[in-house]
Symmetry: none
Subunit: 220 residues, 4 copies
């Protein structure tokens, strides 16, 4: 479980998540079909006619709702990008953190659990996002601006805070972020992409990650 005190921003995250409630039923079906097919064969190799078929609509119907195929991609990928950064960008992120988590370890625990849940719920969309970012400069731009700048600067503040507290080693904040993120993302990728079929004791593995990071970053 996440600490109760954390619930407020999860709540906010969830609020963000029920996208476009005014979508017609056909539109929803198109979106779902597109997610499935884009995730399976990639954007470029997916054909709109296949999407239409899987969605059970006429091909023209896709283009009534999404001006172009690219538009359809963006309507999948932009919201997921927003949700990806949401937890870090909510305006009360830093103060809340500093007050709430007296230990880096608690911060990590909350983060991992939250991202595990996020990945479980949105796996296909995340796959699409990761696959397509390299080929779409506009997505890259958005990603760099929102993630690199917004998220990184906020997290770095948190890192510095814990460094000042003497909890973690005084490496450059960017390095600390990279090391931490590598371990967590490496876990998520292994869990959901590389070996998804295996039975995972997620609690146990999460704790192992945390301990590894904490010892790795401990002040000597």
């Amino acid at each position: 479980m996440l600490p109760e005190s954390n619930e407020d921003w999860i709540e906010q995250l969830l609020k963000l998540s029920d996208e476009e409630p005014k979508m017609t039923e056909k539109q929803t079906k198109i979106l779902h079909a597109a997610i499935e097919i884009f995730a399976e064969k990639g954007y470029a190799a997916a054909s709109t006619s296949e999407i239409a078929q899987k969605a059970g609509v006429a091909e023209g119907t896709i283009f009534r709702h999404y001006k172009t195929k690219k538009d359809l991609l963006l309507s999948i990928v932009l919201p997921i990008m927003a949700k990806l950064v949401a937890p870090f960008v909510l305006r009360n992120f830093t103060p809340v953190l500093e007050a709430k988590y007296t230990r880096y370890e608690d911060f990590l625990r909350s983060l991992i659990r939250n991202r595990l849940e996020f990945a479980r719920q949105h796996l296909p969309m995340i796959k699409i996002l990761m696959q397509e970012i390299p080929f779409h400069p506009d997505l890259q731009e958005q990603f760099k601006t929102e993630v690199m700048n917004e998220v990184l600067t906020r997290i770095k503040k948190v890192i510095v805070f814990f460094q000042q507290e003497g909890q973690i080693i005084p490496l450059p904040a960017a390095t600390v972020v990279r090391l931490t993120a590598s371990v967590i993302i490496g876990f998520l990728i292994t869990r959901f992409l590389l070996v998804p079929e295996q039975e995972w004791d997620e609690e146990e593995e999460a704790e192992t990650c945390i301990r590894f990071i904490m010892h790795g970053l401990a002040t000597r």
Copy 2:
């Protein structure tokens, strides 16, 4: 520099690397053009006519050397996959290791340096491999067999060896591999894909990674 003692398998790696010495000049140009364009726009979005144009050959010439477009992809991606696993698969890998590296830390250092060099030399092909694996079951199969099975079992043996020596914590070998790989791959991705334009003190960053891993895995 890599320690001299390591040179023998690097030598072997290099032997593997001058692939198909019997390639005509046009074929080489086709291959180079394909690598560039596949890396830039992805396999599915790349057109053979664009490749032909960039290679300065006629469209038909591509299909004289590579039966299909997929064939052209494989001729890029299979060799790079072979080279990716080469250092671990050379038949003398484990014994050599156990004798040579008395410390996990030295093993890591050698590994990181070697992979840095590998990534620097073959970045576009590695990009292509990573991008296309999810969409080609045959590549996945090959990857699982060669990397997951061959490489992992060998590395796990090394891990167990160092665990028995008491140098690293007695976690499941798979977990140790994952943690170690996450940090190293996370470094490589950040170095070459996320922030390639930045000036990197690779020696320094590599040592930071090593220290992080060593502390993270240290017996308590």
Copy 3:
């Protein structure tokens, strides 16, 4: 100004012109939008959705009033064709003429002025008519029947009348009509299509046309 004596058939023309007084406001807007867009891009290249948009109605509304796109075209083009021939077809045309215009020159003057006004008022519809006639056999048929037969035979009678009077040269009536029409239509096209932006002294140019025709047709 047109000579008063001419007013009666102008009056009749005007009666014809307030077409379909029972049109709803939306229908009027559709018609206007269609005229504008057909004239601008041609019938085939105009899309009903663009017309709907410009008219400010829903796509379906067009088809409530006009069964097909072709229907919409006809509802523009047929009335303008009727008005085009109206002055010549009014049943009292010939007798009136013979009585009224004692000189061919007066007939021409009245004709030019009237057609100038007609072109000024209905330019876009005339453009559409001219553009589409070659591609619609039904329009051609209508045009040949109404214009070639009806109008030509009546005008020829007038010509013969003036030839018998010795005012104009005894060429075949068809030739006289062609020469006269060429000059007048050539003027109208230059005035409204080729060089519409120029300041035109229409009175002066009309008189020049008349003098040219009269000298050209004068009995030697």
Copy 4:
């Protein structure tokens, strides 16, 4: 027959006319099919698949030779526009004229005969040119530049020359051109488009046109 002295620029015109001798046989067939179909149904209403079918080639073949459908149109329409103005633009036009034709009437006779032949040979392409100019700003631009500017200024010089000789009435040159052109073009349109099926005594009609123009423009 055209006066021998005129043969040199006709010769030049014909030289211009054997367009692109390096066309493959399929390309020729595509071009001919396109001319036929564009003339019959108009550019916008013609489909490339219909053209391909009539040409007896695969649809893709069209696009190997002409990047776009518009390209195909231009490859028909630009050469015909060039040929349309060729007789007037040949660099020796004015001097030759002034020396050769001592009477406006002879100039007209030569012009009419030449344009009759031109229309007879290239009727479908001329139809296409006339139909499409209103809808393609780039064609309009080209037309205005080449025809309006180049041709008109040259012809005006000729007109002024004959006016100074006292052969024709001192109206504005533009007006003289318009009157003359109206009569000739009116004849051509009637001959080839309105009543092509009729037996025409072209010599006789041409002389009638010339006499009409000469009397119309005679100094009083």
